[in-house]
């Protein structure tokens, strides 16, 4: 479905991605784990075309993304829930969600998508009229995910959705991701919560200083000595 081939990227003179290869198959949950600064978010930004790679190709369902603008990538069905939530602070919950289904092709499904995300996140329904910027961190995260879902994604990219949330909330979010996936949304997840995310993943990649150093099924990586030592504190 998604295929990244020898992706190299630099911020100015500073090279941050080296020959990154990564693949996502339809229906999967794939996780990328790695320490701070490993290049996880940068990889997602390359997929969404917010930045342009030095070299290497990214294709989605056979379409080469290299020439596309970010909004065209969304049109193909790749939707990113970015690091730090990035909701529109001066817009209400409803308006934020409407922006999720901005594209004409998804506007048709707006009403049923509203029902879907309000069913997944009843809290948002109670807060329809509240300004995004005044919501709590956890609520903003729900809103960010819901806003992404309003776009009918085929592939949902999530950048650290559990960051800064209470343990109860984290569990909740991972449960919801599993549910969304069962409903047919393929997921590429970037997480620091290695244990929880590997548990729900079909496959995973480990990144270190801009390179993919390890990959395998979620289960394999959970039992991997290096992963245990580096990320699980065992």
């Amino acid at each position: 479905m998604l295929r990244i081939d020898k992706l190299n990227f630099s911020y100015g003179d500073m090279k941050v991605l080296w020959d990154v290869d990564l693949e996502v198959h339809p229906g999967e949950i794939v996780t990328v784990v790695g320490a701070n600064g490993a290049g996880k978010s940068t990889t997602l930004k390359n997929i969404s075309r917010l930045v342009k790679p030095d070299s290497g190709g990214i294709t989605f369902e056979g379409v080469n993304l290299n020439r596309l603008q970010p909004h065209e990538v969304v049109g193909l069905g790749i939707v990113q829930v970015p690091e730090g939530r990035r909701i529109f602070p001066e817009m209400t919950v409803t308006e934020n969600l409407r922006m999720g289904s901005y594209l004409k092709a998804t506007r048709k499904f707006r009403e049923s998508n509203f029902e879907w995300v309000f069913h997944l996140f009843p809290r948002l329904k109670e807060r329809e009229k509240q300004l995004g910027g005044t919501m709590s961190g956890g609520e903003q995260q729900m809103l960010a995910i819901a806003r992404g879902l309003m776009a009918n994604p085929k592939l949902l990219l999530l950048d650290e959705p559990s960051l800064g949330l209470s343990p109860l909330f984290v569990k909740n979010i991972f449960q919801i991701l599993t549910d969304i996936n069962k409903e047919g949304v393929t997921i590429l997840l970037v997480e620091q919560n290695v244990y929880q995310s590997l548990r729900i993943s079909n496959r995973a990649y480990v990144m270190e200083t801009g390179r993919v150093v390890l990959s395998g099924s979620g289960e394999e990586l959970l039992n991997d000595e290096h992963v245990k030592k580096a990320f699980l504190g065992m």
Binding site: S48, Q80, P82, P89, M91, M99, Y102, A151
Partner: protein, 289 residues
């Protein structure tokens, strides 16, 4: 008392038209984070458009808005597409130079064509007044200009609040990258914002023509005024710019009556400095980090 009321009311009416210029500038700033130093010159173009339509085709200045608005919208959109969109990622100095240069080109081109003579339009109602009470009356063309301004502002507000495109413009202003991730074509939104901003400035120029005159360099005063209005209201806030415009109108009008007309620009800047001292983020602005 009646002098006070009279100047207060005409201050509000003129201020409403100023607000239109300020709203345009604030919209452009909000979406692109650039200050359009050619803004007053775009207003000047609107004035000359109305002058031409009225002098050569006999179109009433207020009716000319129906042509000036769309023409300036297209012109502004074209400027954005051809020039400014290419500069959005370059350093601030270059953007400033670009819009200043643009303003100079516009005013000098107009001067080449029309010379620097003052131009006016003549209407039958230029000095007619409406009696509000026994001894308070207001200028009729100013009242009409204000009403049209109010209608346009209300329409714009509705557009920005309720339509998908309007919301997408606001989203782009609030977080450009997040807007991209929603599938919003942000360069298209920039074209729309600059087109709308130009249309509003040009329309304000058209609306001022029955009560004032124009010349090629008139823009620079209004760029400054628009800037003051925008800062007063809080950069990027449409409601704030409306308030700021009206406040400036009142300050000008009252100081012209109670001090002398030479002092009206001073009053504007005193007000400006006071707001910057006590509420630097503007009247309705939130402090940004």
């Amino acid at each position: 008392m009646s002098i006070f009321l009279y100047s207060l009311i005409s201050g509000i009416l003129t201020g409403g038209v100023y607000a239109l210029i300020g709203i345009g500038l604030t919209l452009i700033f909000g979406v692109m984070r650039i200050i359009n130093f050619a803004h007053g010159d775009l207003m000047m173009l609107g004035m000359y458009g109305t002058y031409l339509l009225s002098t050569f085709l006999g179109v009433d200045p207020f009716v000319s808005v129906l042509l000036v608005f769309p023409a300036m919208f297209l012109f502004g959109g074209l400027l954005q597409k051809a020039l400014i969109n290419r500069m959005l990622t370059s350093v601030a100095q270059n953007q400033i130079l670009l819009t200043i240069g643009l303003g100079l080109i516009l005013s000098n081109t107009v001067m080449l064509i029309f010379t620097s003579d003052y131009k006016t339009v003549t209407t039958s109602y230029a000095s007619s007044t409406l009696k509000l009470s026994e001894n308070v009356s207001v200028s009729a063309p100013l009242l009409v200009a204000f009403s049209i301004t109010a209608a346009i502002t209300a329409g714009l507000y509705w557009f920005l609040q309720k339509t998908d495109t309007g919301q997408a413009i606001r989203a782009t202003a609030q977080d450009r990258d997040a807007a991209r991730l929603m599938g919003i074509n942000v360069s298209r939104m920039s074209i729309l914002a600059f087109g709308l901003g130009s249309a509003l400035a040009g329309t304000a120029g058209a609306l001022l023509m029955p009560t004032t005159y124009t010349f090629p360099q008139i823009g620079s005063v209004f760029t400054l005024k628009a800037f003051v209005i925008t800062v007063l209201g809080g950069m990027g806030s449409v409601v704030g710019a409306t308030l700021g415009g009206i406040l400036i109108g009142i300050a000008e009008s009252l100081s012209a009556v109670y001090i002398s007309s030479g002092w009206k620009d001073v009053a504007v800047f005193v007000l400006f400095l006071l707001v910057l001292l006590f509420k630097p983020s503007g009247l309705l602005g939130k402090s940004r980090t």
